[in-house]
Symmetry: C2
Subunit: 288 residues, 2 copies
């Protein structure tokens, strides 16, 4: 079971490279082709919804998308006032964009996805998410995110929704990329990024934390539970050009009540996400 | 991959009965025998520690034990003053007992495990946990927990650390068992119990919540992230004979700082565990 792979079209093994992994039982295989960048696979399951995999690694399912997309979108947007300009790097399944565009305070949402085949597949198989591209505030770009970010500026929020940055998207956790993000942001702009599981992949955090803490005045790991992502103890990263953020008092009941269909967040839950447990806090302190 | 099983002594598949499951890669198989009650398996892995499985379902590993045992022990104990009398139902790996006995406020800790073979295996392979049985406050009983609880009284805390109560230990989520717990507790006593994953097993909660809410003045699901437990979104249940509990202000930094080697808890994290996300809160409200 080493390496992600499919068995006879019936099981997909997400092997994680550790002595532990997940598997999914396919009910109906809908799409399974190699693009210029990766194997793209979409299938329906009996109990865990419709699933998108990239290189047979679990990316998202309709059952659990809120656990990942809600913190990625609603946490950084709470930190900004109206007329918010957002840039999503990656995010080709349209899930983050759909949540971003729920906010009337957003005036512009750019999304830059590397692989056009992911866009086409999402339009076909996740149309409830891709429908948000009809919103007049939304613009799609097919490009390398690290190059694209050089062409934009005056951003309030950058959301980096890539494949695993320690394996497939190393550039997106490099010092040069973070410098580009810093430049593209307004003076009090913020970043939200997927980094890694905090149980198995502390080495990824060990590379990221010294880099971001030397560039950004304020930063914090945000630990959220995400079903089907390896151990479920998933780690996002929040960055800010202002010392005054994150201001968690902005994620209050009034803010959350304005988000239609919210599934995973309460003010106390978000405070918990930003509070590092001792096992992680001791580690972060060691690095800084 | 339906049903939990071992493949050629190298992989153990924890199938969950859903279209999703976990697997573990065995490095050294240490024990694999059937007791009067269940298949007991202990093995070492490369990256996820030493693992105890019962009927090839994941129970605990040395890597993640704190994620489960800390909330089970330290949350209910915070709600009681000194001279605390604790009864653990199940818990044969000694993990919960070890954490309970870290508290100088505990005067007595009874543990009632059904399967004597689990005790023997734990003494051999998890001696860092079973060492706590030498503590003079500790007493072990081999018995059916539901019968044993009828023989004790004046308890401050009951901790129910069983195998999956929806599959193997149905009696422990029955009305008659909860009535026995209610009787065995002091007037302001509390219960902490493992129930089920909140993503796949809402039907288990649908059985438990109406029962406990009719018996106990105060009750709350406690949602903790536990690596390797199905989706990782794990659900415990807190019950109290007093309206005034849980009083989360008692789980403050001073309380937590007195617990040696604490790994997973901060005051804000615990508040997050007790705050039901909308997807679960809407469901609980529907049941009550």
């Amino acid at each position: 079971m080493k390496g992600n792979h499919m068995i006879d079209g019936h099981f997909i093994v997400d092997a994680t490279g550790k002595s532990y992994g997940n598997f999914f039982i396919v009910k109906d295989m809908l799409y399974d082709k190699k693009s210029d960048y990766q194997q793209i696979t979409v299938f329906d399951t009996e109990e865990v919804g419709r699933i998108l995999m990239l290189d047979y690694a679990f990316n998202v399912s309709t059952l659990m998308e809120a656990f990942y997309h809600e913190p990625m979108a609603h946490v950084p947007l709470a930190m900004c006032d109206g007329n918010i300009k957002v840039c999503i790097i990656g995010g080709g399944d349209f899930g983050v964009a759909m949540h971003v565009l729920k906010h009337g305070t957003v005036s512009e949402c750019l999304m830059c996805e590397l692989d056009p085949a992911v866009i086409e597949v999402s339009r076909t198989y996740f149309s409830q998410w891709s429908a948000c591209e009809k919103d007049s505030r939304f613009s799609l770009f097919i490009d390398d995110g690290s190059q694209f970010i050089e062409t934009v500026d005056n951003l309030d929020v950058i959301i980096i929704d890539s494949t695993d940055p320690s394996i497939h998207a190393k550039e997106l956790i490099s010092e040069s990329f973070y410098k580009k993000c810093y430049r593209a942001l307004k003076k009090d702009g913020v970043v939200m990024q997927i980094i890694a599981d905090t149980i198995f992949y502390k080495d990824v955090w060990a590379g990221v934390i010294p880099t971001v803490s030397s560039l950004f005045p304020s930063w914090a790991p945000v630990l959220v539970p995400v079903p089907f992502y390896v151990t479920g103890c998933w780690g996002l990263l929040f960055l800010s050009k202002s010392h005054n953020k994150p201001d968690l008092s902005k994620i209050d009941s009034a803010y959350l009540s304005r988000i239609p269909g919210l599934k995973t967040m309460t003010p106390d839950i978000v405070r918990g996400w930003f509070s590092l447990p001792p096992y992680m806090n001791d580690y972060v302190e060691m690095l800084t």
